[in-house]
Amino acid sequence: MSSYLSIEKIGVAFQKKGVTSEVLRNVSLSIDRGEYVSIIGHSGCGKSTLLNVVGGLLEPVAGAVILDRKGVSGPGPERAIVFQNHSLLPWLTCYENVKLAVDKVFGSTKSAAERRDWVMHNLQLVQMAHAAAKKPSEISGGMKQRIGIARALAMEPKVLLLDEPFGALDALTRASLQDVVADIHARIGATVMMITHDVDEAILLSDRIVMMTNGPAAGIGEILSVDLPRPRNRLAMADDQRYNQYRHLVLEFLHAGRAARAA
């Protein structure tokens, strides 16, 4: 079976003042259509770098990314990114932020009325239709991230790239946003690649968890398939045997990695 999104032997290195530092070496990963894959690892291990390569913001020195049988070069709306710090344009309202993306992606295929409806539809998906006329500065951090998700969804991407989307939020807000993402994933069957450093978040949302080794020259350590029925309920999950088993496995990997680095 050929996978939908295929990351093949990616290598990334940065040069600074003549010193080359290798960030990623020989990273290969296949993601199926509709699959939710989380990438977890210690900070600085290159997980965001990997996401930026898939997003096209960064050129790898080796390897290639293939999406839907086409090689990827440069960024594009079919690989929409939800940035960690939401990256809404502060001079535009929430509606206009999403509209900018919709106009650019569907400017030639949808009529003005259809585009307007599509913007509102996506704002409704993240339960933010009521804030359409507000500026990003007038809404909370969690709401901003919702708008960021709506903007990415509105591009109708083939794959949704989430770069630690909830990292900057408090625990309660984070939980409600995780539910939003899980709900959207279930409803529209989006293919998702998410960077995270939160073990519970990874297990709650993912079909597979990719654990990365520590840099320099980081790679994929282990891949864990999360075989829990959906929809997953975070309360019921806390008492689930398998959930705790998964949790244990991921934590063990992360702590072993830290011990190796400290040694």
Partner: protein
């Protein structure tokens, strides 16, 4: 303040459960404060107006008591009122030559500032974008800008007179060369400080270079540009008054110099108040423009 009260309660949306039902927006009951609001507004206006008024009265009183002696070299407020009454009450008279109301002098100076400053704004923003966007342009121009911007406005005047040989273009040039540096430097800073995230948003959307400039870069730099414009217009007003004193002919600066030669100190004081008020109005005007142009994100 009332905005807080009518803000839709964000709590239901934030803690909405996994069910896909759209969350309800709960409005907080609007407190009855219409009459209170009016009183508050009047109170805040009074609170802002009374202290400066009191201070002005106090200073005038001290000034009056210090300068009321007939041999005093400096006119007291009462003397100014009697000597320069026509200048104060009627800014619009025009008897030809320099013998005109202050309104006409200020208008002449303002029209010079308008021309010189507009040119400086356009050229400055253009150069600033270039210097901000291109590393090589920055390396080449920045040291030159940093040196030239410290040259005082009046130091440009002799060169400008030598170049143009006439008062009007020389004044315009001095305005231009004074106002352009803050515009260039602030615009360049705005372009250089453009958050990479905004550019990434543009890249993901595959915006064309012109779209990137007009949809992302220009709006993001607008608050910086208007900071530069505000400093620039303030400096041009400083420069025009000073250069008109030397150039002669017309304008508020020349009026002040002319009254000095005629030993009419009272008229000078009235003119100074005009200069201050007009300078303040210019600053507010550009700040307000910036507030609208940046859709509220620039300080006004």
């Amino acid at each position: 303040m009332p905005a807080v009260a009518v803000k839709p309660n964000p709590a239901p949306a934030e803690i909405a459960g996994p069910a896909p039902s759209p969350s309800k927006i709960v409005r907080l009951p609007r407190p009855r404060r219409a009459s209170v609001g009016l009183m508050e507004a009047i109170g805040s206006i009074l609170g802002n107006v009374i202290p400066p008024l009191l201070l002005i009265l106090l200073v005038s009183f001290i000034w009056q008591s210090l300068c009321s002696d007939p041999t005093s070299l400096f006119p007291s407020p009462a003397t100014i009122w009697t000597e320069s009454r026509e200048l104060i009450v009627n800014p619009f008279f025009d008897r030809g030559g320099v013998d005109r109301g202050l309104f006409w002098h200020v208008t002449t100076s303002l029209s010079r500032v308008a021309v010189g400053f507009t040119a400086a704004a356009f050229v400055g923003v253009f150069l600033g974008v270039w210097v901000g966007a291109s590393k090589w342009a920055q390396r080449a121009f920045d040291p030159i800008f940093q040196v030239l911007r410290t040259v005082p406005p009046l130091a440009w005047l002799p060169i400008s007179l030598a170049m143009f040989r006439e008062a009007q273009p020389s004044a315009l040039f001095v305005i231009f060369i004074t106002a352009i540096w803050p515009v260039i430097i602030n615009t360049a800073v705005g372009i250089r400080n453009l958050p990479q995230d905004y550019l990434n948003v543009g890249r993901v959307l595959r915006l064309s270079p012109p779209e990137m400039f007009f949809r992302i870069m220009a709006p993001a730099a607008t608050p910086y540009i208007f900071t530069g414009l505000r400093i620039g217009i303030g400096m041009s007003w400083l420069a025009i008054v000073a250069s008109e004193m030397l150039l002669g002919g017309v304008g508020i600066g020349f009026f002040i110099w002319d009254q000095y030669n005629a030993s009419r100190i009272s008229d000078i004081i009235v003119a100074l108040i005009w200069v201050g008020l007009v300078g303040y109005a210019l600053d507010r005007f550009v700040a307000l423009l910036g507030h609208f142009a940046s859709r509220g994100s620039a300080q006004s």
